[in-house]
């Protein structure tokens, strides 16, 4: 697993997102201990303070909880929380940018909706 060290996205957010994906994939189950900041630092070759920042972000979002002296664990309903969060934050941001880009390219609303529908159809086709 490589991190995008050059990119726009702060590393601690990439760490948080990686953990979220592992929770979504059920590599970490509810009430299971996740990697410590030191383990993450070693794994991703980053400063442990950066890794801690990612872990703390997930605690604040109630995706992880802390057991004193034992580390951080996956909270109950963490999966639903992550999906909810991605919908409200990531997806709406992507839609915002999509609409903005379409406006700059003078793509009409209908044209844009058609493009989305076509993409949907293709995805459904692949799924079968």
């Amino acid at each position: 697993m490589n991190l995008d060290l050059e990119g726009l996205k702060p590393i601690y957010i990439q760490i948080a997102e990686w953990l979220e994906n592992e929770i979504l994939n059920e590599r970490f189950q509810e009430d299971e201990k996740v990697f410590s900041q030191y383990k993450l630092a070693e794994l991703f070759n980053i400063n442990p303070a950066t890794a801690a920042k990612g872990l703390n972000m997930l605690s604040e979002d109630q995706i992880l909880y802390t057991k004193r002296g034992l580390g951080k664990f996956v909270a109950e309903h963490a999966k639903q929380r992550i999906l909810e969060k991605r919908k409200t934050e990531t997806l709406s941001q992507l839609v915002h940018e999509l609409v903005l880009e379409a406006a700059q390219l003078q793509v009409s609303k209908n044209e844009l909706i058609q493009m989305i529908e076509r993409e949907h159809e293709e995805l459904k086709g692949e799924g079968q």
Partner: protein, 306 residues
């Protein structure tokens, strides 16, 4: 707890103030990148911290003591740079053995492991080594000493890319296993910034910025577009750098103090925004000339009436 406290520190080199009122503090168990242009005062600072030199004025405390001529500080710190000299009669094994005698946390296993990994024979002498191998040996010494305060001044000088990347990894693993306070000065910031918790940017003998790496990533933003449109948005922002691009457009690097709404409005107005890497942010902050090297040529053109 602060391992280093430095207040209004001044160090003269001839008539020039190499350090000119430097003030900062460093927490225990952090890795700090010491960044700055040539002649900014990095080496002077590290030598004062290690107790090699005495400050001319101001106060400097390392582990709560003045480091100059302090045996305590000397025993608990190590400064690795490419001017390290060892007695010519000793071979590398003998130098390492002296390290083991002097430093209480010395890790002989690590020293031997790294020596054989980097294919340096203990029978060789320091002066026989190539520039890159000498730097590698010095850093082995610096890691194996396991000092509570470990200072590296341009440790990667002459190392090839593989060795540099191995060294950064070794530094991180050592730090994770045995946390200590580490300061590394480097011109290879983009290569090792992922290891840093904080960055101390020095400029003209002063601490210009002391900031978390993740905050430094968001310190500045680059904006490119039509000058008149751009100026409306950046009127009240701190412009660190400006360069003319083709067709009446300009590139400005500005302090990222703009609100999310403003940034969004800029995008809508056709301004191209991009992130400024920590290394570039440091470069822009310490640039003497707002237009960079191009200023020299612009001025020359203006003077010759072209």
């Amino acid at each position: 707890m602060n391992v280093i406290e430095c207040n209004d520190l001044i160090k003269l080199q001839g008539r020039k103030k190499a350090l000119n009122g430097m003030t900062f503090a460093i927490k225990a168990h952090t890795i700090t990148g010491l960044i700055g242009r040539n002649g900014a005062g990095k080496t002077n600072l590290l030598r004062l911290l290690a107790g090699y030199w005495r400050p001319d004025s101001g106060s400097l405390k390392v582990f709560g003591r003045e480091p100059f001529e302090s045996l305590e500080v000397s025993a608990h710190s190590i400064l690795i740079d490419d001017e390290m000299q060892f007695p010519a009669t000793m071979n590398l094994s003998e130098i390492l053995a002296e390290g083991a005698r002097f430093y209480e946390n010395w890790d002989g296993q690590l020293a031997n492991g790294l020596m054989s990994y980097f294919e340096i024979s203990g029978k060789q002498h320091h002066l026989e080594l190539s520039k890159g191998k000498r730097s590698t040996f010095n850093t082995i010494l610096g890691l194996a000493a396991r000092c509570p305060l470990t200072l590296f001044d341009e440790p990667a000088t002459g190392m090839d890319a593989n060795v540099r990347s191995d060294f950064y990894r070794a530094l991180l693993k050592e730090y994770l296993a045995f946390p200590r306070t580490i300061i590394v000065s480097s011109h290879h910031m983009e290569e090792m910034e992922h290891l840093f918790e904080d960055v101390l940017l020095v400029d003209q003998g002063k601490a210009k910025l002391h900031i978390g790496l993740e905050d430094l990533k968001e310190y500045a933003v680059s904006a490119e577009g039509d000058k008149q449109i751009l100026d409306q948005f950046t009127e009240n922002a701190e412009v660190l750098f400006e360069k003319k691009e083709a067709l009446g457009s300009v590139k400005q690097v500005i302090r990222n103090t703009l609100s999310a709404e403003t940034l969004s409005a800029m995008k809508t107005a056709g301004i191209k925004l991009s992130a400024v890497s920590p290394a570039d942010a440091c470069m822009y902050v310490t640039n003497r000339h707002k237009g960079g090297i191009d200023d020299v040529f612009e001025n020359r053109a203006a003077e010759s009436g072209r």
